[in-house]
Structure formats: C-alpha cells, structure tokens
Symmetry: C2
C-alpha cells in the first residue's frame, strides 16, 4: 500500500473519528507496513488506557452471543465498544466466517461498536503483537471498552487473552467442558467464570465441577465469581455485567490497573525488541547457512552453534 | 537433578532399551537441564528418521480413542510406537488428566507403546522445541512410528502438528465441527481427514461440508482423503490405517520425506538459534531497563529502540 496513501492524512482522519480510517490503519498493523513505527509513535499521544476484557472458552459455548449481550449491556450506558476477534483461521476462508457476522449482526450495525477479526500470520511479532496494536488503535479512537475474544483456546490465544485487564472464561454444561477447560489451562487465567447455556441439562453438575476446579487455584485478593447465564432465557446477563463492572472497580483501586498496564507495555516492548533482533539476525546469508546446515550430518545443537558462531 | 545422576550412565541405559531411562531423559528435555546440549549431541547418532504422525481436531471428536485404534493397527505389524500428547494444561492439574490415561489404558499397558504428555512451559524454545526433542528421543529409542496428538487447536499446537510427516485432522458430525475446523485453520494442514463418530446423526452432511471446504484448498500432488470412522461400530478403522500407510508411501517416493525431515531440522535449528540469541540478550541489566521503560511516558516503539540502542 505504500505510496498509495499518506499516513499523516490517514491518521488525521482517524483522529477526527473516521471509521474507515480506523479500519485502514488496522490493516496497516496486520500487514506490518513500512510506516508501522511511525504509526505507533503517532498513536501514543492518543492512548487513554481503556479497559480491556478478554473472553475465551472452548468452541461452541456461545462466546459470540455472550459478547453481543455484554456489548449491549455497556451500550445502555452509551459506552463506545471495540471488539477484536482473534481468529487464526485459514487464509482461504479470509478471516471471520459468516456465522460470527450473523450472530453479531445486531451490534455490527451499531455505530458505537467497532468489530475486527484478526487472523494475522507471519507479521513481525505475530498475533499477540498485532492484537495489542489494534487494541491501542481502538483505544486511541475513543473506545471506552475493548473486548478481545478468541476462537481457539491454544497457547498463543490464552497468552493474548490473559494480558487483558479482565479475563472472562466461558464454559457450558455440555459434555466435558470443564475437563477440557482444565486441560487447556483456562481455570487459572479467569477473573470471571461464566457457565453459559445454564438452562441446559447438567448445569448444576457443571457448576460444581467449576467450583471444585477453582478450589485448586491459589487464592488471591480477587475471588473469581462463577456467573450462570443463558442468552435464550436472559438469565444472569445483568449479573455478568455487574461482575465485569466489579472487577474493573477492583482493578482501579490500589493502582492494580496501572500495574497491569505497565506489565502489558513491558511485554509489548519485549516482543518488539525480540522481533527486531531476530529480524536483523536472519539476513540472506544466515538463512542460506541454515538451509545448508539442516542438510548436513550434524546435530541440530551443533548446527545452531555453528550459525551463532558464524555471526 | 544435576549432580544426582550421571548423563553418560543414564544415556547408556536408554541406549540399552531401558524404559525408565527414556522417561527420565524426557524429563530432562522438559526441564531444559544443564546437560541439554550434551544430550542432543549424544542422541544424534541414534536418530533414524522415524515417521511422525500428527493428530489434531477440536475437543470431543474422539482423538484419544482414535489414537488407540491407530496404534493397535500398527501393533498388529509389531511396530514399536511412541505417543506424545501435547497438553499445555494448567500447572495445578499437573499434565495429562486421568481421562486420557483411562481411555488409553489398553495401549498404555502394552510394552511396545510409549506414551508421554508434554505440558512444558517456560522451557527455552517452548513446547514446539520440546516436542521435537521428545520425538527424537523416541526415535532414537527404537520407535517405528511416533504419534503426536494435540489437546487444543491453537496456533502453537497446529504449528507443532503440521511439522509431522503425516497430519491427520479429526472431525465429528457434532454441531459446527467443520465450521470450527475452518476457523481454526485445520482444513489446510491435513494430509488425511477423519470424520469420526460417523454413525451419529448429521454424518452425511458433515462429510459434504468437509468435502466442500477442501475444494477451496489449492490442489497438490496428494489429494487428502476423507475417512469415515466409528470406534464403536469399528467402521473405517482399516481404511484409516491404509490411508496412513498410503501417505507414508507417497512421502517415501521422490525424497519427499527427506525434504520434510530437512525442513523440520531447519525449523529446530532456527528455534535453537533464536532461543540462544534471546537468552543471551535478556540479562539482568536489560530486564531492569525494560521494567523501567515500561513505566515511562514514551511509546513502546521508542522504548524498544532505546533498549536495542543500549546494547
């Protein structure tokens, strides 16, 4: 895209509240355009440390529907909301699938809601860095709350979601969700647990399973609530809203949210430094040497040493 | 563990076929012990490029049961099998959960099968590197086939599984599995697709969905088959075995498996180099500087530049 646009102009449009400019800047981040650093630098003065909510859980528990409800709860208070869907999907499906769009349809037509799917591959620093940057873009654009939702529950996705200020883990009574959750390491990262589809069979049992799993967690100053919800019967949606508000209030006291913010910045700086170092390292000659060494009859450790010694 | 054992002795026991020695060496890899490099160096001479099969799919499709069947299919041929379950589970659940052990019980008592769950966190290079090393340990130990199974379908897990020689994607007719699969990027990494639980409702529809999704995939020399299986009715298990054998035969022709092997080595060398570079970089002073910069009123990009300039 370089040459076809002017970052200053685009950024001015963004700063003036132009939705399309926000969207185009997000694309710059995804593509890691040449002017990435300039963009981040410009953006810095606009950051307001908007609270970030991460939402995760196994496929099929109803995360997208629940996000729609959470958003509407905050829209009543006229909050501007940004939503990032972490969706490392296949390149040939091209980002978010139709299903999500349909499910989120009600809110996607709302001018106070910005939705973006992120499926970045191969960008410098990867998905985690891109998510941080897009959240910053939404922050600087004037969002009052940013929601980061994952599709999968892999290691990268959890690493992203747990850096949010408030992490919500959504489960359902369906067979083995709580066991899957424990396996995926979800039980330790949630600030709020949601038992969605609580009108389904097995909800009481699932509730006890979650409660039991949480007793293994080291106790801290915040005791994670388990909120039962049903989008269909509208049960517990107000409780979930309250739980989010309570956790954000908890974070605001004693500078906890500032520490979270600094930790997130430290992680991002670290990722930028590492990307830069590795990018500088892997020049043509090193890549050729790597290729050559991979075909030689020596151990990987010896090959790595030869490469590093060769610098 | 350093000091309490002697790597030479332990390795000699491993080389002599001692199961406990294999298990202890895997623990060394997981803990990234001091003698990691020495171990990899010793191991190199024992590597035989045993074929590796990666198995992934959404939670609940019956991967573990299917692995049991695949293993038994190869056990008939008296092949020695190594199984690595990639399970980035919560530290407080401590690796693989009881469920898997029970489901895999039949094969876990078989002296020709080695099962290990990997939940490595924080090891240098992370889960991907640890998986490669453990597969190498099983290879050198004399396994004829190594099966790598993931619990989750996140980015890291898929990156691991797709480096296998043969990647099997397991789906089931349950609601939305194929949509979830497309979302998770599974459709592009499979060499063999399995529609498990094919005796359940919706199997025909799911089969067509998978078929349709695959038409979007660029066609290559290998056309990924879709194999319908049911562990309960034992339908298609022989077909799956045949599909695996066919794919491994396909790889053996024209040196494809050698190229896969070299690519995997290159990736591993690359990860070792990067781990070493970053490990060297993040000394106390750099970490202190990072902490300090994260709390200053400058952009993350500026902070990263200051850190790098400071080296």
């Amino acid at each position: 895209m370089t040459g076809k646009y002017n970052l200053n102009k685009l950024f001015a449009a963004y700063a003036a509240g132009d939705r399309l400019a926000l969207s185009r800047l997000i694309t710059h981040i995804e593509n890691y355009s040449d002017d990435y650093e300039l963009l981040i630098e410009k953006l810095f003065g606009f950051l307001r440390n908007t609270p970030r909510i991460g939402i995760t859980g196994p496929p099929g528990v109803g995360k997208s529907s629940l996000v729609t409800e959470i958003v509407q709860g905050f829209r009543v208070e006229e909050k501007i909301i940004g939503i990032i869907a972490i969706d490392p999907s296949s390149p040939f499906t091209g980002g978010a699938l139709l299903g999500d769009r349909i499910r989120m349809n009600r809110i996607s037509l709302d001018a106070g809601v910005y939705i973006r799917s992120l499926a970045t591959r191969g960008s410098l620093g990867g998905l985690a860095l891109a998510t941080e940057d897009v959240a910053d873009l939404m922050d600087g654009f004037g969002c009052d709350l940013i929601i980061i939702e994952t599709v999968g529950v892999g290691q990268v996705e959890l690493d992203i979601v747990k850096t949010a200020d408030t992490t919500i883990v959504v489960l359902s009574p369906e067979s083995g969700d709580s066991v899957q959750a424990m396996k995926a390491g979800l039980m330790e990262i949630g600030d709020i647990f949601v038992l969605n589809k609580c009108d389904r069979n097995g909800a009481d049992r699932a509730f006890i399973e979650i409660e039991t799993a949480l007793t293994h967690r080291p106790s801290g100053e915040w005791k994670p609530p388990i909120v039962k919800t049903s989008v269909q019967s509208r049960e517990g949606l107000e409780n979930l809203h309250q739980a989010i508000v309570s956790h954000l209030e908890f974070l605001s006291s004693d500078g906890r949210i500032d520490n979270k913010h600094f930790d997130r910045r430290a992680l991002k700086i670290r990722r930028l430094v590492e990307s830069t170092i590795l990018h500088k390292y892997w020049q043509e000659d090193k890549l050729a040497k790597l290729e050559e060494l991979s075909r030689q009859n020596i151990s990987t450790v010896s090959a790595a040493k030869l490469l590093i010694g060769d610098s």
